[in-house]
């Protein structure tokens, strides 16, 4: 089926070739291999990721490549299936002889490819959020996005600041929502916040008023926290208003996109959620070091694809920049050296925040990478 569709995005450095630099330094291209969930249930993540990678590899080649070498990008579509991700990662390492791997889109596809990357000793930079990817630390595995735990911490701390001590959780019963739910429970416990109601819904449930009614009738609920992605949170938000519930409603970073505001409409007014700098680029103060980075990326992405940028589109950008900078510092693509240089990434300002990695931290983001935002009049308002 579609999985074997293979984009060999051989984006030649045309400008470089035209410049007439002779065959003497016509060295091997730098090969970046990527396995993404371009189709399947995670396609809303995988597709923007693929677009970003292609856009920025082409751009890097136009600007002369790295160390005078052009970049060859090879992308496979794993359709969101772990076993396909593992196969493609193996093919990338063995037959395509890539220097570095970027992917997978989800925690599941990443973890399926991790044993292969470790064995073949190829640096792997994941675009997924799950904590298991970097905890415990695996020498060859890195990741760029925030973890669910950071989002949960941001929300729980904001609740604490408002003096809220008893909350209700309502989360999607699988994948992103499930993982976020478990992190939220742990973080709430550490911060002395009591979870008095804990409800779930399926990703495609048309109505969740039953679950919300139960929460509404639970004594002493001071705030509701919804962890999920896709259309679920928008339905939760609408049903929440339908029932006339008045306690604060929190959402996760899974819906930090304009799409959520568009779907939930007026019901989204007053909802708070943690969002990466990229989402609130326009609202960031001029003094924020992230401002120029995210503003430029957002403008470039939206110009090239005529669609709203999402947090997910920024992850491959960060991964690519970290890799290219590491190759520059390593002076080549020797894998052991490259791995070491990626680990030494320090003070890189990307779309997710400021990244400083170490041998014990293969993500390198601090909780301040998230901003707490409130939705007012259909737009984000920065709270911190």
């Amino acid at each position: 089926m579609g999985g074997f569709v293979r984009w060999r995005a051989v984006i030649l450095g045309v400008a470089w070739a035209c410049a007439g630099i002779g065959g003497a330094i016509a060295s091997e291209p730098i090969r970046i291999g990527s396995f993404l969930s371009v189709t399947g249930p995670a396609s809303f993540l995988g597709e923007p990721e693929k677009k970003t990678l292609e856009l920025y590899v082409e751009r890097a080649n136009r600007e002369g490549g790295v160390l005078g070498r052009r970049i060859e990008l090879i992308i496979y579509d794993d359709g969101g299936a772990g076993e396909k991700a593992a196969t493609f990662a193996k093919r990338l390492a063995d037959s395509d002889k890539v220097d570095v791997l970027i992917g997978g889109t989800t925690t599941g596809t990443t973890m399926a490819a991790v044993p292969m990357a470790e064995r073949a000793k190829v640096p792997l930079i994941s675009l997924a959020a799950g904590i298991p990817i970097i905890d415990p630390v695996k020498p060859w595995v890195f990741k760029v996005p925030h973890t669910d735990r950071m989002a949960a911490e941001k929300v729980i701390l904001d609740m604490k600041k408002r003096g809220i001590t008893r909350i209700a959780l309502i989360s999607e019963d699988a994948g992103f929502g499930k993982s976020g739910h478990d992190q939220s429970v742990a973080v709430a416990r550490e911060n002395g916040i009591e979870i008095v109601a804990d409800e779930v819904y399926s990703a495609k449930d048309p109505d969740v008023t039953a679950q919300l009614t139960k929460i509404k009738n639970t004594q002493g609920v001071q705030a509701v926290f919804n962890f999920g992605s896709g259309q679920g949170p928008a339905i939760v938000t609408r049903n929440f208003r339908q029932l006339g519930m008045s306690v604060p409603l929190y959402q996760s970073h899974g819906v930090a996109s304009k799409e959520y505001i568009r779907l939930a409409g007026d019901a989204a007014e007053g909802v708070r959620l943690p969002a990466a700098g990229l989402v609130v680029a326009a609202q960031l103060p001029a003094t924020d070091p992230q401002k120029p980075v995210v503003t430029a990326f957002k403008a470039e992405y939206e110009r090239a694809f005529k669609s709203d940028v999402s947090t997910f589109a920024g992850h491959p950008y960060d991964a690519l920049q970290i890799v290219l900078a590491a190759i520059n510092r390593a002076g080549g693509t020797d894998k052991a050296k490259l791995r070491e240089e990626i680990e030494k990434t320090s003070g890189y300002i990307g779309t997710a925040g400021t990244v400083t990695m170490s041998p014990t931290d293969h993500m390198g983001l601090s909780p301040s990478a998230f901003h707490m935002v409130e939705i007012r009049k259909g737009d984000w308002v920065l709270l911190d």
Partner: protein, 291 residues
């Protein structure tokens, strides 16, 4: 207490009516051909996506809805002409598999034609909840329930009071005999696809303001609709409605009084239980085989 129960009831009615409407389309094609059309969910998606994209482009809601129904019907006709008709001499299982292939194709086409994002439609009669004894119901849910009721009445009239409808039923009972008495069985199958696509599109258009739509929203609606149709008895319009409402109500009451984590499991247990004792569903006709 009562307000709580009423709210669960409303929640169940909203979901149930959506499942019921989705299930009705299965009944029609099954009636005419004994084929379960697994692309039925995609008709729902096409209705919703077409209307949503037209409204986004500035078309008035009523016109967008009308065009969405026409588009879905044309897709249904094209599907029957291009994929089902050439295989009409194959057995039922082959045709069922063709419909699965068609559903994958239609989803893929929708990804290319539209995008992978969620889309919505404005509610037909506003977003002010209707309050009743402490519980609330969105006006759009009434549209869904009303559409189901209207559809079932229209179908009843069509199958019992019109010659063409009766011809359709006759074809499903015995294709050869129907042909021998002069029924154009080819036309019957074509009409049944057009009709069920139309019904799917109606479902897609009225549920989109509640559930939103995306290129793959047909999977879930198709699956729930299929459960509803099987529970009620395949081929029975009334059965699909009752089946859908039961699934919806069980889910809502289970999440309200038991646990939301088990609501899907409870709904499936009930379906299995019913089918165990009544293999042809609540309202299904008993299968008759020639001996």
């Amino acid at each position: 207490m009562f307000a709580e129960f009423l709210q669960y009831l409303f929640s169940g009615l909203t979901s149930g009516a959506i499942y019921a409407l989705a299930g009705l389309g299965f009944a029609i094609i099954y009636n005419a051909s004994n084929v379960i059309n697994f692309a039925q969910g995609e008709f729902i998606m096409i209705g919703g996506m077409t209307a949503a994209s037209l409204v986004a482009a500035g078309t008035p809601l009523w016109l967008a809805v009308a065009l969405a129904l026409v588009v879905a019907m044309l897709v249904g006709i094209a599907l029957e002409r291009l994929a089902i008709e050439p295989a009409r001499d194959s057995d039922v299982v082959t045709i069922v598999i063709i419909t699965i292939g068609a559903s994958i194709f239609l989803r893929g086409a929708a990804q290319v034609i539209w995008d992978k994002e969620f889309h919505s439609l404005p509610a037909f009669s506003g977003e002010t909840p209707i309050a009743l004894s402490g519980a609330t119901l969105m006006p759009q849910s009434l549209w869904v329930i009303g559409s189901s009721a209207l559809a079932i009445a229209a179908l009843w009239w069509f199958f019992n009071r019109t010659l063409f409808g009766k011809a359709m039923l006759a074809t499903s009972h015995n294709r050869l005999a129907a042909q021998l008495v002069g029924i154009g069985v080819k036309r019957v199958l074509l009409a049944s696809f057009a009709l069920s696509a139309l019904l799917g599109a109606v479902a897609g258009v009225v549920v989109t303001p509640i559930t939103f739509t995306s290129y793959e929203s047909g999977i879930m609606l198709g699956l729930k609709g299929f459960s509803a149709a099987v529970l009620g008895g395949l081929g029975s319009g009334l059965g699909a409605i009752v089946g859908g409402l039961i699934v919806g109500l069980v889910e809502a009451l289970a999440s309200g009084y038991l646990s939301s984590a088990y609501k899907d499991a409870i709904a499936f247990i009930i379906i299995l239980f019913v089918l165990f004792f009544m293999p042809s569903g609540l309202f299904g006709r008993r299968g008759t085989d020639r001996v």
